[in-house]
Point group: C2
Chain length 148, copies 2
DNA sequence: GGCTTATCTTGACTTATTCCAGAAAGAGGG
DNA sequence: CCCTCTTTCTGGAATAAGTCAAGATAAGCC
């Protein structure tokens, strides 16, 4: 978890003014990877008191544009944000509870990064989403199911 | 393009009642791959006259559940539907105009189908989305730009 | 400290989708 | 072919996520 001054530095490097909402959103995204906007709003409000949801939406967009956070949007889910940027990692999504986990581009080679031409498209990114069940939801022998 | 009676057969095989809206939606999805719900509603209305949007939403869900159509949801886009099901193909999405094209799981091997275990997740599907520019939007030498 | 401009607040609005209750229509038995 | 039962469709309201817009506020720079 980077320090507040590290966040400040990140913002300045991105040519973004350093404001309390921005520092707080940045911290929240670092602290809660794959959180949705609503969770981030709640975390920020816990930190700073009342902050408009619009401010958080603005900040998230600015941070995403500046490359300080990454926005992911698994099918059927709202937008989620993570602070791990600049590498080529992917995500597993649980079909049952929706939880998201990181997956490194595995097995030695990285087909995922290989820019190429397909049907005349100039492809610059390959995004991989794995679907399945998380350990909790998969547990076939579990007697207790806390949430249906 | 399958015939109307083929669509009827498909519906019956899926234990779905054969109704005019269903036949029409099925035809529309076959005819307009990657169309969004609104386009499908318009196509169906052109075919049948007034049909409630709710009916089309219901039908699309039923067809998706029955595996007769596939729903895709690229980040930043509304839901889109296609009739090509049962194979392992992926999609390229144009960052500029949003157009979608099919991409076969290429290059000989199919990492995309390999179910596996990652972080304890039981993975059953890998979905790949390629991002880039379509031929029209990429055209660097084009003088005319019909839409900004 | 004062100025300029980016950012935040407030509140309305849009868009995609779902929920609900009653009317209509498909499917199977007589 | 008609009846009944159930599924599906209609119409309208409701919801959720996110965006737009105008004025107030606060960063950053001199």
């Amino acid at each position: 978890m980077p320090s507040p001054s590290a966040f400040e530095h990140l913002l300045r490097q991105g040519a973004l003014r350093v404001t309390r909402p921005r520092l707080s959103v940045l911290a929240a995204v670092h602290e809660h990877p794959h959180a949705d906007t609503d969770s981030i709003i709640r975390a920020v409000r816990e930190d700073l008191g009342e902050v408009s949801h619009q401010a958080v939406y603005n900040v998230l967009r600015a941070l995403t544009t500046a490359g300080l956070v990454r926005r992911i949007e698994p099918a059927g889910s709202v937008a989620r944000y993570e602070a791990r940027v600049g590498d080529n990692h992917h995500h597993v999504v649980c079909r049952s509870c929706g939880v998201v986990a990181d997956v490194d581009c595995a097995v030695g080679y990285t087909p995922c990064l290989t820019a190429s031409e397909e049907q005349g498209f100039a492809i610059d990114e390959a995004e991989v989403t794995y679907w399945g069940l998380c350990p909790d939801c998969a547990a076939p022998t579990a007697h207790r199911q806390h949430s249906s």
